[in-house]
Amino acid sequence: MERSRFLAGLDLPAHCILSEEAELRPYECDGLSAYRRLPWLVLIPETLEQVQAILAYCHRLKVPVVARGAGTGLSGGALPLEHGVLLSLARFTDILDIDTANRLARVQPGVRNLAISEAVAAQGLYYAPDPSSQIACSIGGNVAENAGGVHCLKYGLTVNNIAALKVVTMEGELLTIGSHAADSAGYDLLALLTGSEGMLGVIVEVTVRLLPVPEYAQVLLAAFDSAESAGNAVADIISSGILPAGLEMMDKLAIRAAEDFVHAGYPTDAAAILLCELDGTRAEVDAQLEKVHALLSHAGASEVRTARDQQERQRFWAGRKASFPAVGRLSPDYYCMDGTIPRKHLGRVLATISEWSAEYGLPVANVFHAGDGNLHPLILYDANQPGELERTEEFGGRILELCIEAGGTITGEHGVGMEKIDQMCTQFNRAELEQFHAVKRAFDPDGLLNPGKAIPTLARCAEFGHMHVHGGALPFPELERF
């Protein structure tokens, strides 16, 4: 399909169409800048009807479509296509309705995550999932990726905090999924659509659930001489019956980087620190603080500090929330991984990563959502050094396979996108991947929505060669090897 022919038949105002190279350039990547591709065409519709018309038109002409929100995704899920439309939802930025009685907010997909909490703050409510990028990332993308954050252990992921979606199918049909009630009749398509990475439909409206802002929150900072004893302290806290609102771990390199960057007051000589946030009523939090303080000391913490006031609490968190950019200052480039492991394997996994780090000559800083086992190793590299990106990707791939081997997963909250598509061949076997493809066909039989992302083809897995080996049998025996 020629672009000029496509444009000739497209009924969309000129200011909603970008086709010059200079205009297209900013859309060549999302938050994972290691993957770039100049889009064929960027469309930025302003109305729901335009979104439906664009999709119906693309469906008729069999032109593929990639939906894009704020472009902060970290797995290349919004990487454009050489011959396809990049559909930006950036102009859908209205908060449509706030229903305080039912604690719901109905918003357009381009509304920023943090803007929702800001809009309902006066009512004493907030939207719980808080990815680090929450000042910039949009809710449509949060749903497409099932975004998490630092409060997932207690408050869940995006999937646990939304009530309904409006979705446009590839045919251009508008569907309402879920409802403002607790549940809906039929299959739980709300769960299926959440985290489907733009492969099943385009999200055009989201109803999120709101929670009352806790009366009081307080944070403890504990320093440890080893990551392992910090890991044991986490297990002690959870086993004691306390469910912290946030439970984060940082290793030495991450502590130092964050301290240099935001002066959070972290102990820079510690091998690991834990941040443990408790929230609830004042009476509840005070009772738990005492208990957690004792548990941390008993677990061998060299120092336990309770934030003296809300300013210090904010500062403790500022260090954690800024840890990615802080690590970014240490090196020309960094590569952020996103594996999840059962917490009990933390010590072993960190030790192995550290061995490999020496082997590859690439430093690694570790930031860990310790409460829910989600590990973010940040590999430091320099893309200008020939071969260094390739070595970084290989190292990263090995870390993900280590997470699978430990009983975890290749992605906790960033999504598969383009980045981890090969590791999907390790995590899932042929029949499982085929089941994913069958589900995809139920929504999008022609495979026009975000093709090539999230779920690898069987041929790609055969080529990759790192396939799921089940019971000693070589997978995909019928496929050619390359």
Binding site: A182, G186, L192, I238, A287, T340, G373, A431, E432, V439
Partner: protein
């Protein structure tokens, strides 16, 4: 029953059923046999496939075979002061884990702690082609591939035969108080809307027989503090009241007439349908015995953005679940096809044609 793994045998059985187009009626303890539309098929009893596979209290995860009795799982959790926070109903002592997830039903704690689907971290299942598959895992966060494990919650076994399920579990609260206040249904709904918008440690809110029952959960100090916020109340000593509500053992539920379950936005004012009401989930789940016809009940419920299920005693006359709009139903049919091309897994239990 001895613990055993029947996955391979079940794969063979489903492959045979697919080849011969003989539908299967999948069931666990049959405690929810009344729920959903009738299925004609060869019975497959999941209870022969049982046993807890993994449980480490510090990970807050339990994984067990689908035929494992819910009571066995809960006893095991109780030893470590943990619980299934969605409080699955036990309509008989034989309720199984597989049945709890396949039905997707949740108890009184649901609006405060999450539903069955929220606790599902991963499943093993056998699709209609007889392939044993695993989706999700045993970790809290996992976004690799489509979320096909949560999709199983509430699918009533029509998409796959569950072989094992990993669930998030939560610590059992240190203390629980039940408060009881005299008030009308209308007043109860107003109070629930007000209090659920405040940061109080509520864990259940039910109106029944001109009384609002509230459960508070947390530390002793936290619960005492919250008790003062909620105004004049009587302290209900009978802590098993919530369990009887969950399992429909209260006198309210002892009738042979059709029992409706209405799921509506919680702050919806009392609905204009004549009948006997019990309001749970702070207003979100409403149980109703009514002589009104199904179309009226569905129309009124739909008009406030909710859905009505003919939960018990349907007597085969009516559709059990709220009818779906055409395009949404076609999509669900295509999804059924994607898992069960021959239509042999509990066909028709949810809707005719699924």
């Amino acid at each position: 029953m001895p613990e055993q793994d029947l996955t391979d045998a079940w794969c063979a059985r489903i492959q045979e059923a697919a080849a011969t187009h003989r539908p299967l009626y999948i069931h666990g303890g049959n405690s929810k046999a009344f729920y959903g539309r009738p299925v004609t098929g060869d019975a497959l009893d999941t209870r022969e496939h049982s046993g807890i596979l993994d449980y480490e209290p510090s990970e807050l995860v339990i994984r067990a075979r689908s035929g494992t009795a819910l009571s066995e799982i809960e006893q095991r959790l109780e030893r470590h002061r943990q619980m299934l926070a969605f409080e699955p109903p036990h309509f008989s002592p034989h309720s199984t884990l597989g049945g709890a997830i396949a039905s997707g039903l949740s108890g009184p704690r649901r609006p405060f702690a999450g539903a069955a689907r929220d606790m599902v971290l991963g499943v093993g299942l056998i699709n209609g082609k007889g392939e044993a598959l695993h989706f999700g895992g045993q970790v809290m966060k996992n976004v690799a591939g489509y979320d096909l494990s949560r999709l199983m919650a509430g699918a009533l076994g029509t998409l796959g035969l569950l072989t094992d399920v990993a669930l998030k579990v939560l610590p059992r609260p240190e203390t629980e108080y039940t408060l009881k206040q005299v008030c009308s249904q209308q007043e109860a709904l107003l109070r629930c809307a007000e209090w659920t918008a405040k940061p109080l440690p509520l864990s259940a809110a039910c109106w029944h027989d001109e009384h609002l029952y509230l459960r508070l959960s947390g530390t002793e100090a936290g619960v005492r503090y919250a008790q003062h916020q909620l105004g004049d109340s009587l302290l209900e000593q009978d802590s098993s009241w919530w369990q009887r509500l969950r399992d429909q053992q209260l006198d309210f539920f002892r009738r042979d007439e059709p029992l409706w379950r209405l799921s509506v936005p919680p702050a919806t004012p009392p609905l204009a349908i004549t009948g006997d009401w019990l309001i749970d989930w702070g207003g979100g789940q409403r149980w109703l015995y009514s002589k009104e016809n199904a179309a009226t009940i569905r129309q009124v419920t739909g008009s406030v953005g909710g859905q009505a299920t003919l939960f018990r005693n349907a007597q085969g006359k009516e559709d059990v679940f709220q009818p779906l709009p055409g395009p949404l139903f076609s999509l669900q049919q295509r999804l059924k096809q994607a898992f069960d091309p021959e239509g042999i897994l509990n066909p028709g239990r949810l809707y005719a044609g699924l």
